[in-house]
């Protein structure tokens, strides 16, 4: 295989660039740094986890035991899309780890949260933080809770909640 990457197989990410053997493959260090730099998620959050690639650029996060490489249906959860200019976390990983985030988190009110979960795009010009992929959150039972990933450009927040995960919820 030209790029050493196999769409049927999970390969554990190399720890660092120095250990990389497959071109273009993200490293564990780069993934952990991404979550820290973009969202302020402390790197130690991921100490017990391994990261894997299956298919070009699709990164999975896993906490169990497994040898590499491994040909099975899934390990842990899909986590991040790499091998593109702007890396993009998944809705589910953001829900799972988003409570550790301190940056690029956009807090929505009830109605905005409802629209976001339904997959709607909305103009939110008051946001004065970074553009690009943000964690959308709202308050539930007195604490902030991540809803999913949004793409913020030109004053608009686009919901990235996948079709199958979108829900029409009570306001």
């Amino acid at each position: 295989m030209a790029d050493g990457n196999d769409g049927q197989r999970f390969d554990r990410l190399p720890a660092t660039e120095a250990e990389r053997t497959v071109d273009g493959r993200a490293t564990r260090e780069a993934v952990v740094d991404y979550f820290a730099d973009r969202f302020g998620i402390p790197p130690a959050t991921f100490d017990d986890y391994t990261f894997w690639e299956k298919g070009a650029g699709k990164i999975w996060i896993y906490r169990g035991e497994a040898p590499t490489p491994l040909e099975i249906e899934a390990i842990g959860m899909t986590c991040l899309r790499t091998r593109q200019e702007h890396w993009k976390p998944t809705t589910d990983v953001v829900q799972r780890f988003g409570d550790h985030a301190t940056e690029c988190v956009i807090d929505l009110d009830r109605e905005q949260a409802r629209r976001f979960a339904a997959g709607e795009d909305q103009m939110l010009e008051w946001w004065d933080g970074d553009w690009g992929y943000l964690i959308a959150a709202h308050e539930i039972a007195g604490e902030a809770e991540a809803i999913g990933v949004g793409l913020y450009v030109h004053g608009e927040l686009r919901s990235m909640v996948p079709k199958g995960r979108q829900r029409d919820l009570e306001p």
Partner: protein, 302 residues
Amino acid sequence: MEPLERYRPIIDDFDAFLAACERPLGNAVRVNTIKASVERTLAALNEAGVDYDQADWNPRVLTLEIDSPGSTWTSFHGFTHGQEEVSAVPPVVLEPQPGDRVWDCCAAPGGKATQIAALMDDRGTVVANDNNLGRISALRFNAERLGATGLAVTNADARNYSLERFDFDAFDRTLVDAPCSCEGTIRKNPDALDNWSEGHISSVAGIQKGIIRRAIQATREGGTVVYSTCTFAPEENEAVVQHALDNEPCRVVDFDLELEHAPGLTAWDGETFDERLERAARIYPHQNDTGGFFVAKLEVTA
């Protein structure tokens, strides 16, 4: 209900049993502690004005007074997962511990596999297998929504499952939540008995016997295997466990269960079973206003 007549001799208060089978079931959900504590989940339900009942035997099992439990914020966030009350019993009986290697050999769509992961604090390895690829996609969807990071999902026939793909050669615990004739789901699926036949029961029993044997072989000495079905037929329950006792190194062990239940049978239709099968549990719909279930716990002895 006709097929259920064969259980008249073994079920106390058979008329109450039949009446319960006619009643639809409430909307039960399990609190997914990987995503939120019971306390926070209850607070979120209160905030949304959703009434609920908490099960006496398990604070993580709730019945919601609502028509569509899938369209709540708690469901969207994966704080809750729709799962029948009795279906939450086998993982509790399995008693998985953080760090364990667990095999859920018939795992799709993943209600119990994710419950096992939650009971382990999402630490350790839960190999969630199913031979039906279509159902595996539902399993994967649920695992991701519920944030279970310790699941390894495989697609194979449990009867000749190979451990070669992993670095270890035995599991600490295995759940066999077997395919079955589903008589106990009648309250949820009123057509559950439409294709009922003794022939079907005996062919499913053949598959169950193959799966339970492989489950015991793949579990280490001293490890635990829990066998469960959502059916009443002794051919698929006690007789399958008896087959395992006759052919694999294992014994039936006790467990505590705070739900009302009847003991496993030691005889059926001219056949007798090991006396220890009384330690298995038969949960009937009229006892706790739930679906029906059978659960047996085995210890692997070699």
